[in-house]
């Protein structure tokens, strides 16, 4: 008699989950509640007003940046600016993301796709995140003269990065963040030197430092060419452990006349986007890995489409996902337009 390996794996998962729940339960009893601290931190980062200065360290390079974050009802504004060298800034207001590049005397304006006019599906802890991350810590540590809780999200496999966070007890803001690989080696880190949490942040705080009126302004084209054949549906046949699809939409991209299929996968902490666009007949396909800061990308060609997976995960994860992307329709012309799909 043979045991179906899938059933076996499922049983194993159930067993693991049960063990974990016990362990986590025990943790809460003992007074260490790292998961709760993570939830508080995510809430603080997304719902509070704050103005902070931090240093971003990657390898031997360090750069100081300021972040300004404001939530007013449903309106979220955010400004991220480099205080060193380039003086670059990102300003996000509502659906519009404006990128000022004084060193290039250029402004890029990106608009969120109309499909995702609502708040985008954020990765949320839970739903099995514990199966792929070991969440531990919660002990007190003094940092910058403040009481913090140290929480580590340690990846259980090679498909994701880990985080070590120093979360301020009073405000739940992460005063220090380290991105680590499976072995615990730090890839990059963010260290705040100051954070204010003002009740109100005036609009003037979201004005860029530079006078950009003489800059060249570039906006992404958002009009798509109407196509008779509705686009095919795409999905990943298999995913690395813990990942699930949260969003599927079509969106316009600068430099591409045709709509680009955009799929989003998350394990509750990290997320990966897959972009699928029809391959241009005479262009060489992009294939293989690319690194953009701490984000990894992997490109491949499937059914004459250019497929690119990108996310803040190790290179093997984007490769795994990209290579699993398939069109689910036999004939792409027969399928309906994929509505933006959002799972909880």
């Amino acid at each position: 008699m043979r045991i179906d390996p899938r059933i076996h794996a499922r049983r194993l998962n159930v067993a693991r989950f049960a063990t974990l729940s016990l362990l986590l339960g025990a943790g809460v009893v003992l007074g260490a509640e790292p998961t709760e601290w993570l939830e508080r931190m995510n809430k603080a980062l997304t719902t509070r007003n704050y103005v902070g200065v931090f240093t971003h360290v990657r390898g031997t390079r360090a750069e100081t940046l300021r972040i300004i974050h404001r939530v007013r009802g449903r309106d979220v504004s955010e400004r991220l600016l480099s205080l060193d060298g380039s003086g670059r800034e990102f300003v996000r207001e509502g659906d519009e993301l404006t990128c000022y590049l004084p060193d290039k005397r250029t402004v890029l304006v990106e608009r969120r796709a109309p499909d995702s006019a609502l708040l985008p599906a954020m990765p949320t802890l839970g739903d099995g995140s514990e199966l792929v991350y070991e969440i531990r810590g919660g002990e007190r540590e003094r940092l910058l003269g403040r009481k913090t809780r140290v929480v580590a999200l340690h990846p259980r496999d090679e498909f994701r990065y880990g985080y070590r966070l120093w979360i301020d007890e009073e405000t739940s803001m992460p005063l220090k963040t380290q991105l680590c690989d499976k072995s615990g080696a730090v890839i990059e880190q963010i260290l705040f030197s100051s954070i204010d949490l003002p009740e109100r942040i005036p609009d003037s705080m979201f004005k860029p430092l530079v006078d950009a009126s003489n800059y060249r302004w570039l906006r992404a084209e958002r009009q798509l060419t109407a196509t008779n054949a509705p686009p095919a549906l795409w999905e990943a046949m298999r995913l690395p452990p813990g990942f699930r699809m949260t969003t599927r939409s079509q969106q316009a991209m600068p430099g591409s006349k045709e709509p680009v299929a955009h799929l989003v996968f998350t394990d509750g902490v990290a997320s990966v986007s897959v972009f699928v666009e029809p391959r241009k007949p005479d262009s060489k396909p992009t294939e293989g890995p690319t690194q953009v800061g701490s984000s990894s990308a992997f490109s491949t060609v499937v059914d004459d489409h250019q497929v690119t997976a990108i996310g803040e995960v190790p290179p093997n994860t984007v490769q795994f996902i990209a290579e699993q992307v398939k069109s689910t329709s036999k004939s792409s012309g027969q399928m309906g337009i994929a509505p933006p799909r959002r799972n909880k």
Partner: protein, 255 residues
């Protein structure tokens, strides 16, 4: 037909930015830039979005190629407009690699700009290509980028707007461009991740960031915002000077 041609041009342009076109093909594409407003506008978008990413890397540019192409383009320009011959001549070509006020460069994207301006655009494109083609090992060793001005600051003198060229000549047929190019070369596959990300990855990073968690998103955007490197050392004095001398009309592109 038109659509087809457009696609073909788009893909060539994108291939150029991804370092997948041979030098000879680049020259041809560069010549087309002198005639095609749409292509030129798209070029600037690719270049600038890509710039946001690539600036984090030290790059070494190949001046010889730039000069060679510049010369080729200058000749091309004379067919269209004799008045531009002088400015697009060899003297200018030799100084093409000198950093100049970037605001003037903005004018390149104006519809129907002068041929010599377009020639400058083409030369800059080639420099971009060379940026892509740089040996990663050299870059990793931090090979001198001070000797290699950043492409986006390389500018020819702006032309009066009235040197418009209305070349009705249609671009070469799709496919014909590639014929007779013996040295079209397939880029060698790299065992490592490519060092300088292609332009299209910038768009992907930004689009993806909308769906990242609060922590991860910040990390992703830092990959773009952070100057993160020496490549931003670029003739600061000259850049500063442009604020005062911004070309009239440059602001019409704003908003």
């Amino acid at each position: 037909m038109n659509e087809e041609r457009q696609n073909e041009r788009d893909s060539q342009l994108s291939a150029m930015f991804d370092g997948e076109l041979s030098a000879a093909e680049c020259e041809l594409l560069a010549r087309r830039l002198t005639r095609d407003d749409g292509l030129r506008a798209q070029w600037s978008r690719y270049a600038l979005i890509g710039a946001a990413l690539r600036a984090e890397r030290g790059v070494k540019l190949d001046d010889n190629v730039a000069r060679r192409v510049q010369a080729a383009i200058s000749q091309e320009a004379t067919y269209g407009d004799s008045s531009s011959t002088e400015v697009a001549g060899s003297t200018r070509a030799n100084t093409a690699a000198v950093a100049k006020p970037a605001s003037r460069w903005m004018q390149f994207a104006r519809p129907a700009a002068g041929a010599s301006i377009a020639a400058g655009v083409a030369a800059v494109s080639i420099l971009w290509l060379r940026t892509q083609g740089t040996d990663p090992a050299l870059v990793a060793m931090g090979v001198d980028e001070t000797a290699a001005p950043q492409p986006e600051s390389i500018v020819l003198q702006p032309e009066p707007v009235d040197t418009q060229i209305t070349l009705a000549a249609s671009p070469p047929q799709a496919g014909s461009v590639l014929k007779g190019e013996p040295d079209y070369s397939t880029p060698a596959p790299s065992p490592q991740a490519s060092f300088a990300p292609p332009a299209r990855f910038a768009n992907y990073v930004v689009a993806h960031s909308e769906y990242s968690g609060p922590l991860a998103r910040r990390m992703a955007l830092l990959g773009i915002v952070g100057s993160d490197g020496q490549a931003d050392v670029e003739a600061p004095a000259e850049v500063d000077a442009t604020t005062a001398t911004a070309a009239p009309g440059a602001a019409t592109d704003a908003h």
